[in-house]
Protein backbone atom coordinates (compact mmCIF):
# COMPACT_ATOMS: atom_id res chain seq x y z
CA UNK A 1 0.00 0.00 0.00
CA UNK A 2 2.86 2.32 0.80
CA UNK A 3 4.32 1.76 -2.67
CA UNK A 4 0.92 2.35 -4.22
CA UNK A 5 0.67 5.67 -2.39
CA UNK A 6 4.11 6.61 -3.65
CA UNK A 7 2.99 6.05 -7.22
CA UNK A 8 -0.19 8.01 -6.58
CA UNK A 9 1.99 10.82 -5.31
CA UNK A 10 3.94 10.78 -8.56
CA UNK A 11 0.63 11.22 -10.42
CA UNK A 12 -0.18 14.14 -8.18
CA UNK A 13 3.24 15.64 -8.70
CA UNK A 14 2.81 15.51 -12.46
CA UNK A 15 0.35 18.38 -12.12
CA UNK A 16 2.06 21.73 -11.73
CA UNK A 17 1.03 23.89 -8.78
CA UNK A 18 -1.07 26.91 -9.69
CA UNK A 19 0.98 30.10 -9.88
CA UNK A 20 0.16 32.43 -7.02
CA UNK A 21 1.74 35.66 -8.26
CA UNK A 22 -0.78 37.79 -10.11
CA UNK A 23 1.10 38.70 -13.29
CA UNK A 24 -1.89 40.08 -15.17
CA UNK A 25 -1.68 43.71 -16.28
CA UNK A 26 -4.21 44.69 -13.62
CA UNK A 27 -2.47 42.62 -10.94
CA UNK A 28 0.96 44.12 -11.63
CA UNK A 29 -0.37 47.67 -11.83
CA UNK A 30 -2.34 47.24 -8.60
CA UNK A 31 0.76 45.94 -6.82
CA UNK A 32 2.84 48.83 -8.20
CA UNK A 33 0.39 51.56 -7.21
CA UNK A 34 -0.24 49.92 -3.86
CA UNK A 35 3.44 50.06 -2.93
CA UNK A 36 3.58 53.67 -3.97
CA UNK A 37 0.46 54.63 -2.04
CA UNK A 38 1.17 52.74 1.17
CA UNK A 39 4.73 54.09 1.31
CA UNK A 40 3.21 57.51 1.96
CA UNK A 41 2.83 58.61 5.59
CA UNK A 42 -0.65 58.97 7.08
CA UNK A 43 -1.05 62.66 6.32
CA UNK A 44 -0.24 62.31 2.62
CA UNK A 45 -2.88 59.78 1.66
CA UNK A 46 -6.55 59.35 2.62
CA UNK A 47 -7.03 58.15 6.21
CA UNK A 48 -8.22 54.54 6.30
CA UNK A 49 -10.77 53.50 8.90
CA UNK A 50 -11.36 49.87 9.78
CA UNK A 51 -14.77 49.19 11.31
CA UNK A 52 -15.87 46.03 13.10
CA UNK A 53 -19.58 45.33 13.37
CA UNK A 54 -21.31 43.81 16.36
CA UNK A 55 -22.09 40.12 16.12
CA UNK A 56 -21.38 38.23 19.37
CA UNK A 57 -19.12 35.24 18.78
CA UNK A 58 -19.53 35.58 15.02
CA UNK A 59 -17.27 38.59 15.38
CA UNK A 60 -14.33 36.21 15.76
CA UNK A 61 -14.36 36.45 11.96
CA UNK A 62 -12.98 40.00 12.33
CA UNK A 63 -9.71 38.42 13.46
CA UNK A 64 -9.54 36.59 10.12
CA UNK A 65 -10.18 39.84 8.27
CA UNK A 66 -7.40 41.61 10.22
CA UNK A 67 -5.01 38.76 9.35
CA UNK A 68 -5.54 39.24 5.61
CA UNK A 69 -5.32 43.04 5.82
CA UNK A 70 -2.03 42.81 7.71
CA UNK A 71 -0.56 40.34 5.20
CA UNK A 72 -1.56 42.68 2.39
CA UNK A 73 0.07 45.64 4.16
CA UNK A 74 -3.25 47.50 4.29
CA UNK A 75 -2.62 50.79 6.10
CA UNK A 76 -5.20 50.93 8.89
CA UNK A 77 -5.09 54.39 10.48
CA UNK A 78 -8.14 54.42 12.75
CA UNK A 79 -10.35 51.67 14.20
CA UNK A 80 -13.93 51.54 15.44
CA UNK A 81 -16.11 48.73 16.73
CA UNK A 82 -19.36 47.86 18.39
CA UNK A 83 -20.05 45.14 20.95
CA UNK A 84 -17.81 42.15 20.24
CA UNK A 85 -16.35 44.20 17.39
CA UNK A 86 -15.30 46.73 20.06
CA UNK A 87 -13.33 44.07 21.91
CA UNK A 88 -11.54 42.92 18.74
CA UNK A 89 -10.99 46.54 17.73
CA UNK A 90 -9.61 47.60 21.12
CA UNK A 91 -7.10 44.75 21.17
CA UNK A 92 -6.07 45.43 17.57
CA UNK A 93 -5.73 49.16 18.16
CA UNK A 94 -3.60 48.40 21.21
CA UNK A 95 -1.15 46.61 18.93
CA UNK A 96 -1.84 43.02 20.00
CA UNK A 97 -0.08 40.67 17.57
CA UNK A 98 -2.26 38.68 15.16
CA UNK A 99 -1.14 35.43 16.76
CA UNK A 100 -2.47 36.56 20.13
CA UNK A 101 -5.76 37.71 18.58
CA UNK A 102 -6.19 34.20 17.15
CA UNK A 103 -5.46 32.63 20.54
CA UNK A 104 -7.95 34.89 22.28
CA UNK A 105 -10.64 34.31 19.66
CA UNK A 106 -10.16 30.56 19.82
CA UNK A 107 -10.27 30.59 23.62
CA UNK A 108 -13.46 32.64 23.86
CA UNK A 109 -16.07 31.37 26.28
CA UNK A 110 -19.34 32.98 27.33
CA UNK A 111 -17.80 33.42 30.77
CA UNK A 112 -14.82 35.29 29.25
CA UNK A 113 -16.75 38.52 29.51
CA UNK A 114 -19.40 37.80 32.11
CA UNK A 115 -20.24 35.98 35.34
CA UNK A 116 -22.21 33.46 33.31
CA UNK A 117 -22.67 30.13 35.06
CA UNK A 118 -25.58 27.80 35.74
CA UNK A 119 -26.41 29.42 39.09
CA UNK A 120 -26.44 32.97 37.74
CA UNK A 121 -28.43 31.90 34.70
CA UNK A 122 -31.03 30.39 37.01
CA UNK A 123 -31.13 33.62 39.00
CA UNK A 124 -31.68 35.51 35.76
CA UNK A 125 -34.55 33.30 34.69
CA UNK A 126 -36.27 32.93 38.08
CA UNK A 127 -35.57 36.20 39.87
CA UNK A 128 -34.85 38.71 37.09
CA UNK A 129 -31.29 39.14 38.39
CA UNK A 130 -29.32 40.25 35.36
CA UNK A 131 -25.84 38.90 34.73
CA UNK A 132 -22.80 41.15 35.05
CA UNK A 133 -20.38 41.90 32.21
CA UNK A 134 -17.67 43.01 34.64
CA UNK A 135 -15.39 40.23 33.41
CA UNK A 136 -15.12 42.06 30.09
CA UNK A 137 -13.25 44.86 31.85
CA UNK A 138 -10.98 42.33 33.52
CA UNK A 139 -10.40 40.61 30.18
CA UNK A 140 -9.36 43.89 28.54
CA UNK A 141 -7.13 44.91 31.47
CA UNK A 142 -5.47 41.49 31.59
CA UNK A 143 -4.58 41.81 27.92
CA UNK A 144 -3.56 45.43 27.53
CA UNK A 145 -3.48 46.88 31.04
CA UNK A 146 -5.47 49.85 32.29
CA UNK A 147 -4.93 51.94 29.21
CA UNK A 148 -6.89 54.93 28.05
CA UNK A 149 -8.06 55.47 24.46
CA UNK A 150 -5.28 58.02 24.05
CA UNK A 151 -2.64 55.44 24.91
CA UNK A 152 -3.57 53.01 22.14
CA UNK A 153 -1.33 52.61 19.09
CA UNK A 154 -4.11 53.52 16.69
CA UNK A 155 -7.01 55.94 17.37
CA UNK A 156 -10.01 53.87 18.41
CA UNK A 157 -13.70 54.44 19.13
CA UNK A 158 -16.48 52.18 20.36
CA UNK A 159 -20.22 52.62 20.71
CA UNK A 160 -22.76 51.97 23.48
CA UNK A 161 -26.36 53.04 24.00
CA UNK A 162 -27.64 55.14 26.89
CA UNK A 163 -30.80 53.48 28.22
CA UNK A 164 -32.10 56.79 29.65
CA UNK A 165 -31.87 58.78 26.44
CA UNK A 166 -31.75 56.13 23.72
CA UNK A 167 -28.70 57.88 22.28
CA UNK A 168 -25.78 56.08 20.71
CA UNK A 169 -22.69 57.17 22.64
CA UNK A 170 -19.34 57.13 20.86
CA UNK A 171 -16.41 56.68 23.25
CA UNK A 172 -13.01 57.79 21.99
CA UNK A 173 -11.26 59.15 25.04
CA UNK A 174 -10.74 58.31 28.69
CA UNK A 175 -10.52 54.87 30.24
CA UNK A 176 -10.83 52.09 27.69
CA UNK A 177 -11.99 48.99 29.58
CA UNK A 178 -15.37 50.28 30.93
CA UNK A 179 -16.24 51.76 27.53
CA UNK A 180 -15.55 48.46 25.76
CA UNK A 181 -17.53 46.64 28.44
CA UNK A 182 -20.48 48.98 27.91
CA UNK A 183 -20.27 48.47 24.16
CA UNK A 184 -20.81 44.73 24.47
CA UNK A 185 -23.33 44.75 27.27
CA UNK A 186 -26.31 42.86 25.90
CA UNK A 187 -29.58 44.35 27.16
CA UNK A 188 -31.90 41.95 28.92
CA UNK A 189 -29.04 39.63 29.85
CA UNK A 190 -26.39 41.87 31.37
CA UNK A 191 -27.12 44.63 33.86
CA UNK A 192 -26.60 48.10 32.32
CA UNK A 193 -23.22 49.66 33.06
CA UNK A 194 -23.23 52.93 34.96
CA UNK A 195 -20.41 55.00 33.50
CA UNK A 196 -19.96 58.75 33.13
CA UNK A 197 -23.47 59.38 34.46
CA UNK A 198 -25.01 57.16 31.84
CA UNK A 199 -26.78 53.84 31.98
CA UNK A 200 -25.20 51.91 29.16
CA UNK A 201 -26.07 48.84 27.14
CA UNK A 202 -24.73 47.20 23.97
CA UNK A 203 -24.08 49.63 21.13
CA UNK A 204 -25.30 47.08 18.58
CA UNK A 205 -28.86 48.13 19.42
CA UNK A 206 -28.35 51.57 17.83
CA UNK A 207 -25.14 51.42 15.83
CA UNK A 208 -24.35 47.97 14.45
CA UNK A 209 -21.58 49.11 12.08
CA UNK A 210 -20.05 52.27 13.61
CA UNK A 211 -18.85 53.91 10.41
CA UNK A 212 -19.73 57.33 11.85
CA UNK A 213 -17.36 56.66 14.76
CA UNK A 214 -14.49 55.96 12.36
CA UNK A 215 -15.30 59.14 10.45
CA UNK A 216 -15.29 61.07 13.72
CA UNK A 217 -11.73 59.83 14.19
CA UNK A 218 -10.83 61.29 10.80
CA UNK A 219 -11.33 58.36 8.41
CA UNK A 220 -11.73 59.42 4.78
CA UNK A 221 -12.13 55.89 3.45
CA UNK A 222 -13.83 53.16 5.48
CA UNK A 223 -13.55 49.41 5.16
CA UNK A 224 -16.18 47.63 7.25
CA UNK A 225 -16.05 44.02 8.37
CA UNK A 226 -19.65 42.93 8.92
CA UNK A 227 -20.67 39.75 10.73
CA UNK A 228 -24.41 39.83 10.47
CA UNK A 229 -26.62 36.97 11.52
CA UNK A 230 -28.87 35.03 9.22
CA UNK A 231 -31.75 34.75 11.66
CA UNK A 232 -33.67 32.41 9.39
CA UNK A 233 -31.32 29.67 10.62
CA UNK A 234 -32.42 29.69 14.23
CA UNK A 235 -35.70 28.91 15.93
CA UNK A 236 -35.67 30.39 19.44
CA UNK A 237 -36.56 27.85 22.11
CA UNK A 238 -36.69 30.08 25.19
CA UNK A 239 -36.89 33.66 26.44
CA UNK A 240 -33.15 34.31 26.14
CA UNK A 241 -32.89 32.98 22.62
CA UNK A 242 -35.94 35.00 21.58
CA UNK A 243 -34.35 38.13 22.99
CA UNK A 244 -31.09 37.41 21.17
CA UNK A 245 -33.02 36.83 17.97
CA UNK A 246 -34.79 40.18 18.28
CA UNK A 247 -31.46 41.94 18.89
CA UNK A 248 -29.99 40.19 15.84
CA UNK A 249 -32.93 41.11 13.63
CA UNK A 250 -32.71 44.70 14.79
CA UNK A 251 -28.97 44.64 14.05
CA UNK A 252 -29.55 43.33 10.55
CA UNK A 253 -32.09 46.04 9.81
CA UNK A 254 -29.67 48.69 11.07
CA UNK A 255 -26.81 47.16 9.12
CA UNK A 256 -28.76 47.30 5.89
CA UNK A 257 -28.74 51.12 5.99
CA UNK A 258 -25.33 51.57 7.56
CA UNK A 259 -23.55 49.43 4.97
CA UNK A 260 -24.33 52.06 2.36
CA UNK A 261 -21.96 54.55 3.96
CA UNK A 262 -18.93 52.22 3.92
CA UNK A 263 -16.47 52.54 1.06
CA UNK A 264 -15.81 48.84 1.09
CA UNK A 265 -17.45 45.85 2.77
CA UNK A 266 -16.10 42.47 3.75
CA UNK A 267 -18.89 40.17 4.90
CA UNK A 268 -17.72 36.78 6.18
CA UNK A 269 -20.55 34.24 5.76
CA UNK A 270 -20.97 33.50 9.47
CA UNK A 271 -24.72 34.10 9.66
CA UNK A 272 -25.49 30.58 10.86
CA UNK A 273 -23.12 30.77 13.84
CA UNK A 274 -25.09 31.31 17.00
CA UNK A 275 -24.66 33.89 19.75
CA UNK A 276 -22.72 31.57 22.04
CA UNK A 277 -21.44 29.01 19.57
CA UNK A 278 -17.92 28.89 20.99
CA UNK A 279 -17.21 25.51 19.39
CA UNK A 280 -17.22 27.25 16.00
CA UNK A 281 -14.68 29.99 16.75
CA UNK A 282 -12.06 28.53 14.42
CA UNK A 283 -14.62 28.25 11.64
CA UNK A 284 -15.60 31.89 12.15
CA UNK A 285 -11.98 33.08 11.95
CA UNK A 286 -11.31 30.93 8.88
CA UNK A 287 -14.43 32.32 7.19
CA UNK A 288 -13.15 35.81 7.95
CA UNK A 289 -9.83 34.96 6.31
CA UNK A 290 -11.47 33.45 3.25
CA UNK A 291 -13.95 36.30 2.77
CA UNK A 292 -11.22 38.91 3.12
CA UNK A 293 -8.83 36.98 0.87
CA UNK A 294 -11.45 36.86 -1.89
CA UNK A 295 -12.03 40.62 -1.67
CA UNK A 296 -8.63 42.02 -0.79
CA UNK A 297 -7.61 42.76 -4.38
CA UNK A 298 -10.85 44.66 -4.97
CA UNK A 299 -10.41 46.56 -1.67
CA UNK A 300 -6.91 47.63 -2.71
CA UNK A 301 -8.18 48.78 -6.09
CA UNK A 302 -10.98 50.81 -4.49
CA UNK A 303 -8.58 52.53 -2.11
CA UNK A 304 -6.14 53.26 -4.95
CA UNK A 305 -8.90 54.78 -7.08
CA UNK A 306 -9.97 56.87 -4.09
CA UNK A 307 -6.40 58.14 -3.67
CA UNK A 308 -5.47 59.02 -7.25
CA UNK A 309 -5.05 62.71 -6.51
CA UNK A 310 -2.21 62.11 -4.11
CA UNK A 311 -0.58 59.64 -6.51
CA UNK A 312 -0.73 62.05 -9.42
CA UNK A 313 1.35 64.56 -7.48
CA UNK A 314 4.32 62.18 -7.72
CA UNK A 315 4.01 61.84 -11.46
CA UNK A 316 4.35 65.42 -12.51
CA UNK A 317 7.75 67.02 -11.91
Amino acid sequence: MRRASAVLLSIYLATAPAAALDLSDDGLLRDHLWRQLTAKPKGERPVVGLVFSAGSLRAAAHVGVITVLENAGFPVDVVAGTSMGAIVGALYAAGKPIKRLWELALGLRISSGSNYNAFNLLRLLLFDRLLSSKNTEKFIRDEIGSRSFEELKKPFACVAMDLYSGEGIIFREGELAPAVRASMNLPGIFAPVEYRHRYLVDGGVVNYIPIDAAKLLGADWVLASVTETDYTYSKPQNVLQSLEQVIDIRGTLLAREQKKSANFLIEPPVGDIGFYDTSRSYEAIAKGVMAAHRRIGAAMEEYILFSLDCLLKDYIP
Binding site: R3, A4, S5, L21, L23, D25, D26, H32, N71, M290
Partner: protein, 305 residues
Protein backbone atom coordinates in the same frame (compact mmCIF):
# COMPACT_ATOMS: atom_id res chain seq x y z
CA UNK B 1 1.51 10.80 -16.08
CA UNK B 2 0.15 7.73 -17.88
CA UNK B 3 3.30 5.76 -17.09
CA UNK B 4 2.83 6.54 -13.43
CA UNK B 5 -0.80 5.44 -13.58
CA UNK B 6 0.15 2.22 -15.28
CA UNK B 7 2.69 1.56 -12.57
CA UNK B 8 0.02 2.20 -9.95
CA UNK B 9 -2.38 -0.24 -11.56
CA UNK B 10 0.39 -2.81 -11.61
CA UNK B 11 1.01 -2.26 -7.92
CA UNK B 12 -2.65 -2.51 -7.10
CA UNK B 13 -2.82 -5.89 -8.81
CA UNK B 14 -0.05 -7.96 -7.26
CA UNK B 15 -1.01 -11.18 -9.03
CA UNK B 16 -1.92 -9.50 -12.27
CA UNK B 17 0.54 -11.62 -14.29
CA UNK B 18 -1.23 -14.82 -13.36
CA UNK B 19 -4.64 -13.34 -14.07
CA UNK B 20 -3.61 -11.72 -17.33
CA UNK B 21 -2.73 -15.05 -18.98
CA UNK B 22 -6.30 -16.23 -19.61
CA UNK B 23 -7.78 -12.67 -19.54
CA UNK B 24 -11.22 -13.93 -18.73
CA UNK B 25 -12.62 -11.83 -15.91
CA UNK B 26 -13.78 -8.28 -16.64
CA UNK B 27 -11.39 -6.65 -14.15
CA UNK B 28 -8.28 -8.21 -15.68
CA UNK B 29 -9.44 -7.30 -19.17
CA UNK B 30 -10.19 -3.74 -18.01
CA UNK B 31 -6.80 -3.35 -16.42
CA UNK B 32 -5.07 -4.53 -19.54
CA UNK B 33 -7.13 -2.10 -21.64
CA UNK B 34 -6.51 0.69 -19.18
CA UNK B 35 -2.76 0.21 -19.52
CA UNK B 36 -3.16 0.51 -23.29
CA UNK B 37 -5.12 3.74 -22.86
CA UNK B 38 -8.42 2.23 -24.07
CA UNK B 39 -10.46 4.12 -21.50
CA UNK B 40 -13.78 4.05 -23.31
CA UNK B 41 -13.61 0.27 -23.49
CA UNK B 42 -12.83 0.04 -19.77
CA UNK B 43 -16.00 2.02 -19.12
CA UNK B 44 -18.09 -0.32 -21.29
CA UNK B 45 -16.70 -3.44 -19.63
CA UNK B 46 -16.97 -2.23 -16.04
CA UNK B 47 -20.68 -1.54 -16.20
CA UNK B 48 -23.02 -1.94 -13.20
CA UNK B 49 -23.46 -5.67 -13.88
CA UNK B 50 -19.73 -6.37 -13.81
CA UNK B 51 -19.25 -4.30 -10.69
CA UNK B 52 -21.99 -6.22 -8.89
CA UNK B 53 -20.03 -9.44 -9.30
CA UNK B 54 -16.85 -8.05 -7.79
CA UNK B 55 -16.02 -8.11 -4.08
CA UNK B 56 -13.41 -6.69 -1.71
CA UNK B 57 -10.06 -5.77 -3.15
CA UNK B 58 -11.19 -6.43 -6.73
CA UNK B 59 -14.09 -4.05 -6.39
CA UNK B 60 -11.79 -1.41 -4.90
CA UNK B 61 -9.44 -1.71 -7.89
CA UNK B 62 -12.36 -1.65 -10.30
CA UNK B 63 -13.62 1.64 -8.84
CA UNK B 64 -10.15 3.09 -9.15
CA UNK B 65 -9.71 2.05 -12.79
CA UNK B 66 -13.23 3.08 -13.73
CA UNK B 67 -12.92 6.48 -12.06
CA UNK B 68 -9.62 7.11 -13.80
CA UNK B 69 -11.08 6.06 -17.15
CA UNK B 70 -13.98 8.46 -16.79
CA UNK B 71 -11.53 11.19 -15.88
CA UNK B 72 -9.31 10.44 -18.88
CA UNK B 73 -12.31 10.64 -21.21
CA UNK B 74 -13.21 14.05 -19.76
CA UNK B 75 -16.34 12.89 -17.89
CA UNK B 76 -15.40 14.43 -14.59
CA UNK B 77 -18.90 14.26 -13.10
CA UNK B 78 -19.02 10.52 -13.72
CA UNK B 79 -15.52 10.07 -12.30
CA UNK B 80 -16.55 11.98 -9.19
CA UNK B 81 -19.62 9.77 -8.80
CA UNK B 82 -17.52 6.61 -9.07
CA UNK B 83 -14.96 7.80 -6.53
CA UNK B 84 -17.73 8.86 -4.20
CA UNK B 85 -19.31 5.41 -4.42
CA UNK B 86 -15.90 3.83 -3.95
CA UNK B 87 -15.06 5.89 -0.88
CA UNK B 88 -18.48 5.15 0.63
CA UNK B 89 -17.75 1.43 0.30
CA UNK B 90 -14.07 1.70 1.24
CA UNK B 91 -13.89 4.73 3.53
CA UNK B 92 -10.30 4.02 4.58
CA UNK B 93 -8.87 3.46 1.12
CA UNK B 94 -6.22 6.16 0.77
CA UNK B 95 -5.98 5.82 -3.01
CA UNK B 96 -9.68 6.28 -3.66
CA UNK B 97 -9.89 9.11 -1.13
CA UNK B 98 -6.86 10.83 -2.64
CA UNK B 99 -8.25 10.55 -6.16
CA UNK B 100 -11.61 11.93 -5.07
CA UNK B 101 -9.96 14.85 -3.27
CA UNK B 102 -7.63 15.60 -6.18
CA UNK B 103 -10.50 15.58 -8.66
CA UNK B 104 -12.65 17.84 -6.46
CA UNK B 105 -9.73 20.21 -6.03
CA UNK B 106 -9.05 20.42 -9.74
CA UNK B 107 -12.76 20.92 -10.41
CA UNK B 108 -12.54 24.03 -8.21
CA UNK B 109 -14.47 22.42 -5.35
CA UNK B 110 -11.69 23.10 -2.90
CA UNK B 111 -13.80 23.42 0.21
CA UNK B 112 -15.22 19.94 -0.47
CA UNK B 113 -11.80 18.49 -1.26
CA UNK B 114 -10.13 19.70 1.94
CA UNK B 115 -12.00 17.43 4.42
CA UNK B 116 -11.27 14.42 2.20
CA UNK B 117 -7.55 15.17 2.19
CA UNK B 118 -7.88 15.57 5.94
CA UNK B 119 -9.41 12.07 6.13
CA UNK B 120 -6.37 10.75 4.27
CA UNK B 121 -4.14 12.42 6.84
CA UNK B 122 -6.18 10.92 9.70
CA UNK B 123 -5.40 7.49 8.26
CA UNK B 124 -1.85 8.23 7.14
CA UNK B 125 -0.53 11.39 8.84
CA UNK B 126 2.56 11.69 6.62
CA UNK B 127 0.80 11.31 3.29
CA UNK B 128 2.67 13.80 1.12
CA UNK B 129 0.02 14.15 -1.60
CA UNK B 130 -2.64 15.01 0.98
CA UNK B 131 -0.32 17.57 2.59
CA UNK B 132 0.35 19.04 -0.85
CA UNK B 133 -3.33 19.15 -1.72
CA UNK B 134 -4.15 20.90 1.55
CA UNK B 135 -1.21 23.28 1.16
CA UNK B 136 -2.52 24.37 -2.25
CA UNK B 137 -6.12 24.63 -1.09
CA UNK B 138 -5.24 26.62 2.02
CA UNK B 139 -3.08 28.92 -0.08
CA UNK B 140 -5.87 29.62 -2.53
CA UNK B 141 -8.32 30.23 0.34
CA UNK B 142 -5.92 32.62 2.05
CA UNK B 143 -5.16 30.40 5.06
CA UNK B 144 -1.45 31.06 4.67
CA UNK B 145 -0.07 29.80 7.96
CA UNK B 146 -1.84 26.47 7.59
CA UNK B 147 -0.69 26.25 3.97
CA UNK B 148 2.92 26.83 4.98
CA UNK B 149 2.62 24.09 7.61
CA UNK B 150 1.36 21.58 5.04
CA UNK B 151 4.09 22.54 2.56
CA UNK B 152 6.68 21.96 5.27
CA UNK B 153 5.27 18.48 5.93
CA UNK B 154 5.09 17.64 2.22
CA UNK B 155 8.60 18.93 1.58
CA UNK B 156 9.99 16.49 4.13
CA UNK B 157 9.32 13.84 1.48
CA UNK B 158 9.49 15.94 -1.66
CA UNK B 159 12.57 18.01 -1.01
CA UNK B 160 13.86 17.27 -4.52
CA UNK B 161 10.92 18.97 -6.22
CA UNK B 162 11.79 22.60 -7.11
CA UNK B 163 8.20 23.56 -7.98
CA UNK B 164 7.01 22.76 -4.46
CA UNK B 165 9.82 24.84 -2.94
CA UNK B 166 8.77 27.69 -5.21
CA UNK B 167 5.11 27.34 -4.25
CA UNK B 168 6.14 27.32 -0.56
CA UNK B 169 8.23 30.45 -1.16
CA UNK B 170 5.20 32.20 -2.66
CA UNK B 171 3.16 31.45 0.47
CA UNK B 172 5.95 32.84 2.64
CA UNK B 173 6.15 35.92 0.43
CA UNK B 174 2.45 36.57 1.04
CA UNK B 175 3.03 36.08 4.76
CA UNK B 176 5.81 38.70 4.56
CA UNK B 177 8.35 36.13 5.78
CA UNK B 178 10.88 37.41 3.28
CA UNK B 179 14.03 35.79 4.65
CA UNK B 180 12.51 32.32 4.78
CA UNK B 181 10.87 32.88 1.40
CA UNK B 182 14.25 33.71 -0.13
CA UNK B 183 15.78 30.59 1.41
CA UNK B 184 12.94 28.47 0.02
CA UNK B 185 13.22 29.86 -3.50
CA UNK B 186 17.01 29.42 -3.36
CA UNK B 187 16.33 25.73 -2.61
CA UNK B 188 14.15 25.61 -5.73
CA UNK B 189 16.91 27.23 -7.78
CA UNK B 190 19.54 24.84 -6.43
CA UNK B 191 17.42 21.96 -7.69
CA UNK B 192 16.55 23.45 -11.06
CA UNK B 193 17.53 26.86 -12.41
CA UNK B 194 14.12 27.75 -13.81
CA UNK B 195 12.91 31.19 -14.91
CA UNK B 196 9.73 31.09 -12.82
CA UNK B 197 11.70 30.64 -9.61
CA UNK B 198 13.89 33.56 -10.59
CA UNK B 199 10.77 35.65 -11.08
CA UNK B 200 9.56 34.72 -7.59
CA UNK B 201 13.02 35.56 -6.22
CA UNK B 202 12.77 38.99 -7.84
CA UNK B 203 9.41 39.62 -6.15
CA UNK B 204 10.87 38.56 -2.80
CA UNK B 205 13.90 40.83 -3.24
CA UNK B 206 11.71 43.78 -4.14
CA UNK B 207 9.39 43.14 -1.19
CA UNK B 208 12.37 43.09 1.16
CA UNK B 209 13.54 46.46 -0.13
CA UNK B 210 16.27 45.26 -2.50
CA UNK B 211 14.91 46.76 -5.71
CA UNK B 212 18.22 46.91 -7.59
CA UNK B 213 18.89 43.23 -6.80
CA UNK B 214 15.36 42.44 -7.98
CA UNK B 215 15.97 44.27 -11.27
CA UNK B 216 19.24 42.40 -11.71
CA UNK B 217 17.44 39.10 -11.15
CA UNK B 218 14.80 40.06 -13.71
CA UNK B 219 17.53 40.87 -16.21
CA UNK B 220 18.81 37.29 -16.14
CA UNK B 221 15.49 35.41 -16.14
CA UNK B 222 14.06 34.23 -19.42
CA UNK B 223 10.50 34.14 -18.10
CA UNK B 224 8.26 35.76 -20.75
CA UNK B 225 6.62 37.94 -18.07
CA UNK B 226 9.92 39.38 -16.85
CA UNK B 227 10.15 42.22 -19.38
CA UNK B 228 6.74 43.61 -18.40
CA UNK B 229 7.58 43.42 -14.73
CA UNK B 230 10.99 45.00 -15.30
CA UNK B 231 9.56 47.96 -17.24
CA UNK B 232 7.20 48.70 -14.36
CA UNK B 233 9.83 48.34 -11.67
CA UNK B 234 12.21 50.65 -13.53
CA UNK B 235 9.66 53.36 -12.76
CA UNK B 236 9.91 52.45 -9.08
CA UNK B 237 13.68 52.79 -9.31
CA UNK B 238 13.29 56.27 -10.82
CA UNK B 239 14.86 55.12 -14.11
CA UNK B 240 12.33 56.89 -16.31
CA UNK B 241 14.38 56.89 -19.53
CA UNK B 242 15.06 53.17 -19.23
CA UNK B 243 11.40 52.53 -18.39
CA UNK B 244 10.38 54.49 -21.46
CA UNK B 245 12.73 52.45 -23.66
CA UNK B 246 11.51 49.18 -22.12
CA UNK B 247 7.88 50.13 -22.69
CA UNK B 248 8.60 51.06 -26.32
CA UNK B 249 10.11 47.61 -26.84
CA UNK B 250 7.07 45.94 -25.30
CA UNK B 251 4.69 48.00 -27.41
CA UNK B 252 6.58 47.08 -30.54
CA UNK B 253 6.00 43.41 -29.77
CA UNK B 254 2.45 43.89 -28.50
CA UNK B 255 0.82 47.18 -29.53
CA UNK B 256 -1.87 48.24 -27.08
CA UNK B 257 -0.42 46.27 -24.18
CA UNK B 258 -2.04 47.81 -21.11
CA UNK B 259 0.91 47.68 -18.76
CA UNK B 260 3.36 48.99 -21.36
CA UNK B 261 1.03 51.89 -22.13
CA UNK B 262 0.87 52.73 -18.45
CA UNK B 263 4.65 52.63 -18.08
CA UNK B 264 5.14 54.82 -21.16
CA UNK B 265 2.52 57.31 -20.01
CA UNK B 266 4.08 57.61 -16.58
CA UNK B 267 7.61 57.91 -17.92
CA UNK B 268 6.48 60.51 -20.44
CA UNK B 269 4.71 62.49 -17.71
CA UNK B 270 7.84 62.50 -15.64
CA UNK B 271 9.95 63.54 -18.63
CA UNK B 272 7.66 66.49 -19.32
CA UNK B 273 5.84 65.02 -22.34
CA UNK B 274 2.36 65.59 -20.95
CA UNK B 275 0.53 65.60 -24.27
CA UNK B 276 1.97 62.27 -25.41
CA UNK B 277 1.29 60.83 -21.94
CA UNK B 278 -2.34 61.94 -22.13
CA UNK B 279 -2.68 60.14 -25.47
CA UNK B 280 -1.34 56.92 -23.94
CA UNK B 281 -3.72 57.24 -21.00
CA UNK B 282 -6.61 57.89 -23.34
CA UNK B 283 -5.75 54.79 -25.33
CA UNK B 284 -5.33 52.72 -22.16
CA UNK B 285 -8.70 53.88 -20.83
CA UNK B 286 -10.34 52.02 -23.74
CA UNK B 287 -8.67 48.71 -22.83
CA UNK B 288 -11.31 46.15 -21.90
CA UNK B 289 -8.86 43.36 -21.04
CA UNK B 290 -7.45 45.28 -18.07
CA UNK B 291 -10.44 47.03 -16.47
CA UNK B 292 -8.58 48.36 -13.43
CA UNK B 293 -5.76 49.83 -15.53
CA UNK B 294 -8.38 51.34 -17.83
CA UNK B 295 -10.21 52.95 -14.89
CA UNK B 296 -7.01 54.39 -13.43
CA UNK B 297 -5.96 55.71 -16.85
CA UNK B 298 -9.37 57.30 -17.47
CA UNK B 299 -9.25 59.05 -14.08
CA UNK B 300 -5.69 60.31 -14.66
CA UNK B 301 -6.54 61.49 -18.17
CA UNK B 302 -9.52 63.38 -16.77
CA UNK B 303 -7.43 65.01 -14.07
CA UNK B 304 -4.67 65.93 -16.54
CA UNK B 305 -7.20 67.69 -18.76
Amino acid sequence: MSAALAALIALLAPCQGAILAPLKDPLSISMSLFEKGEHQQVISILGPESLQKLRGDELRRAYFVLGNSYEKTGRIDKALGIYQLGTNLFPRDINLLSELARLLQHAGLEEQAAPIYQKVLDIHPNNASAHLGLAEIDHSLGLLERSAGHYEKALEQLSADPRRWRAYAEVLLEMREYKTAELAVQKALQRSYDPQSLLVLAFIQRASGKLSAALATLAVTTDPQADRVRALWLLEAGEHQKALAASEELLKASPGNALALWVRARARLRLGQAEAAAKDLQSLSQNTAAPFAAKVAAEFARRLR
